[in-house]
């Protein structure tokens, strides 16, 4: 792989895209595109394309557009113009170079954050169209290598990080042992039937953020929660297949996740602090399986933490003293309206909150979401440059005295870490669980 960090669009070489493209011919593209247009381009997609009056009001909704000096090709309507509009207008008669560019745009220049849908007077959902292009790329076998590797892991292991079944159990027992040094009677209950809470996490937690499982266990234990985790595949709620356009695999993942919770007869699923996984379980995966709403009630950790804090099940020993700011993850804010509960929880835990502007539903994405960070190092610099406006927001907070950024989402953490580093903003990052664990009575 050629790692051309900072290279302009169209010049970044990704082995997944290049290798896939090498196998393509215009005829293969046309046949695949025609089949997809016939089978999957429904009324929504066609109406969006038909009625967009190209007024440009979506432009400033997009952090890429705002960060890239107003380059119009980064506006949401511009990205559609560069990709799907042409594919539709030409009935799939596009060449390989065109598809390479469309692939790069759809996978690495749109976080599917749905802010532009909020800013379009006609309610056009650009994310739906970008996902359509990604799915076409998936069907053409042309997907950025890093995210495709993750999708392969999902297929082979039913988790995101190639975690083997025994490694999963080992990681939980390891964290239980660690935590018992602090809280001697703590357990991480495995395979417990009929629990109130089925706690699910994303693959990176057992892989390299295991302390989050430790912290969650302490919080649940102290709050007296009747909870469990499964010892079988189905524990991972994450889903990069949703973002590669592999909707069949997304459905398999969600099916296993729901069936595992149902097998254990759990009353509800509580998900760790991850945005995309929540979108997958709460919003997209259930639909693909034919469930209007998930078959088991699903709540995000923020919702759950808010609940146990307001019910007094967790007591705050000492508030977090450093001034904090709140990063609103797209998938739980525009995706679930949890911004006020997040603020109420942070208010109970922290002395001082300095808001970024704009915030809540109008937040700027960290530019890591939508699988963009999962496209890996080749696209890292473009991602960080595409998040300049988020860097500006954080810098403003820093100038006002902000020290800590609370971001209740894994992908946001990855993106924000890179932003803080690149734009030289001396702030630290925390999950809400980090703050609760630090401030609670233990």
């Amino acid at each position: 792989m050629t790692d051309e960090i900072g290279a302009p669009r169209g010049h970044i070489k990704d082995v997944g895209i290049e290798t896939g493209a090498a196998r393509l011919t215009p005829e293969i593209i046309r046949k695949t595109a025609l089949r997809m247009l016939h089978e999957e381009a429904g009324a929504r997609l066609r109406t969006y394309l038909d009625i967009c009056v190209r007024c440009g009001l979506c432009s400033n909704a997009c952090h890429y557009y705002n960060s890239m000096g107003g380059d119009p090709t980064y506006s949401p309507a511009g990205k559609v113009k560069e990709t799907l509009s042409v594919i539709m207008a030409k009935n799939g008669r596009v060449d390989v170079e065109f598809m390479k560019k469309a692939c790069e745009i759809a996978f690495t220049e749109c976080n599917l954050c749905r802010r532009c849908a909020m800013y379009c007077p006609l309610g056009i959902d650009t994310a739906t169209m970008m996902l359509f292009v990604r799915r076409l790329c998936h069907k053409l076998g042309m997907v950025p290598q890093y995210i495709q590797d993750t999708a392969h892991s999902h297929s082979a292991t039913m988790n995101q990080m190639w975690v083997k079944e025994d490694e999963w159990i080992d990681s939980l027992q390891w964290q239980e042992n660690e935590a018992r040094e602090e809280v001697p009677d703590l357990r991480i209950p495995l395979e417990k039937e009929g629990a109130d809470v089925f706690y699910s996490v994303i693959g990176p937690e057992p892989k390299f953020r295991a302390q989050l499982i430790y912290q969650a266990a302490v919080i649940f234990h102290k709050a007296g929660v009747n909870w469990t985790m499964p010892a079988t595949p189905g524990w991972d709620n994450s889903d990069m297949c949703m973002y590669t356009g592999d909707m069949e695999m997304m459905s398999r993942l969600k099916k296993l996740h729901f069936e595992t919770a149902l097998r254990l007869r759990a009353k509800r699923i509580v998900m760790g602090e991850c945005g995309h996984a929540f979108r997958s379980v709460y919003d997209m995966g259930n639909r693909a399986l034919g469930w209007r709403y998930p078959p088991v009630p699903v709540i995000h950790a923020i919702d759950f933490f808010h609940e146990i804090l307001t019910q007094g099940k967790i007591k705050v020993a000492q508030k977090y003293e450093k001034p904090v700011t709140i990063h609103d993850p797209c998938n739980i804010v525009r995706g679930r309206g949890l911004h006020e509960k997040l603020r109420e929880a942070v208010g109970m835990l922290c002395e001082t909150v300095i808001e970024m502007e704009p915030n809540r539903e109008h937040n700027y994405c960290c530019a890591a979401g939508g699988g963009v960070i999962n496209c890996g190092p080749p696209f890292k610099m473009k991602r960080v440059l595409g998040a300049r406006v988020k860097g500006d927001q954080l810098m403003e907070v820093h100038k006002k005295g902000g020290v800590t950024c609370i971001a209740p989402c894994h992908n946001c953490h990855g993106g924000l870490e890179d932003i803080l580093h690149h734009y030289k903003i001396p702030m630290d990052l925390k999950f809400l669980g980090d703050i609760i664990y630090q401030c609670m009575e233990k």
Partner: protein, 219 residues
């Protein structure tokens, strides 16, 4: 010229109205059928309450954040759409034609107000043209058809004013006025002007998704 005028104000009126109504019904029904087959979630998640909540916020000037971020555009676009739709419906000359043909009429605005409204539509069209020509992103997004649409929208108002003000060549302008008006009406369901028909549904659907599923505002 008289026979052409009679043709344009006779048969062609019916043709354009039928194309507009028939085309609109066809567009909406065919999309509804397609959605039933391929976008079943539209029916599952469509919520009248949240659809209206969203539409309400977008048809009130400056109620949505994006309207507030574009104060001049918002003023112009609301002025444009209000004048565009209401002027032909309440113009004395048009109401008079209905009275002559069918013997009934309704409230109308004075001629001067009609000219002012038509002038506002034209001024707004110039503003939109300016955006297409001079704003970097809008210029990039614009295609030839967008400029043609703008000209098509402006034509009946320009020629209408021309004819009413009896400027030189007003007889030809009157013919062009009737023709361009009919053309505009007939094209609504078949062009981007169709956003007039679909706005309620696309905005309503995203409002339903945001409200009923995602519990978030979308304005």
């Amino acid at each position: 010229m008289h026979s052409l005028y009679a043709f344009l104000t006779g048969s062609m009126v019916w043709v354009s109205v039928l194309l507009f109504l028939g085309g609109s019904v066809y567009s909406l029904v065919s999309r509804a059928v397609m959605a039933r087959k391929m976008d079943k979630m539209v029916y599952s998640y469509f919520s009248l309450h949240y659809a209206l909540r969203s539409i309400f916020h977008w048809v009130i000037p400056y109620a949505a954040r994006n309207w507030r971020l574009h104060p001049l555009f918002t003023f112009v676009t609301f002025t444009f759409h209000i004048c565009l739709i209401w002027t032909p419906l309440v113009l004395f000359a048009h109401v008079g034609l209905f009275y002559e043909a069918w013997g009934f009429s309704w409230w109308f605005i004075p001629d001067l107000a009609g000219d002012v409204c038509a002038g506002l539509v034209l001024a707004c069209c110039l503003f939109f043209l300016g955006r297409r020509l001079f704003l970097r992103d809008v210029r990039y997004l614009s295609t030839a058809s967008d400029y043609v649409m703008l000209a098509l929208v402006a034509a009946p108002y320009l020629t209408g004013m021309w004819a009413h003000r009896q400027w030189p060549g007003h007889e030809t302008a009157l013919l062009l006025h009737v023709f361009s008006g009919e053309l505009l009406l007939a094209l609504i369901p078949f062009t981007k002007l169709g956003h007039m028909l679909f706005f309620l549904f696309t905005r309503g659907y995203i409002g339903s998704e945001f409200g009923a599923v995602r519990h978030a505002r979308d304005w």
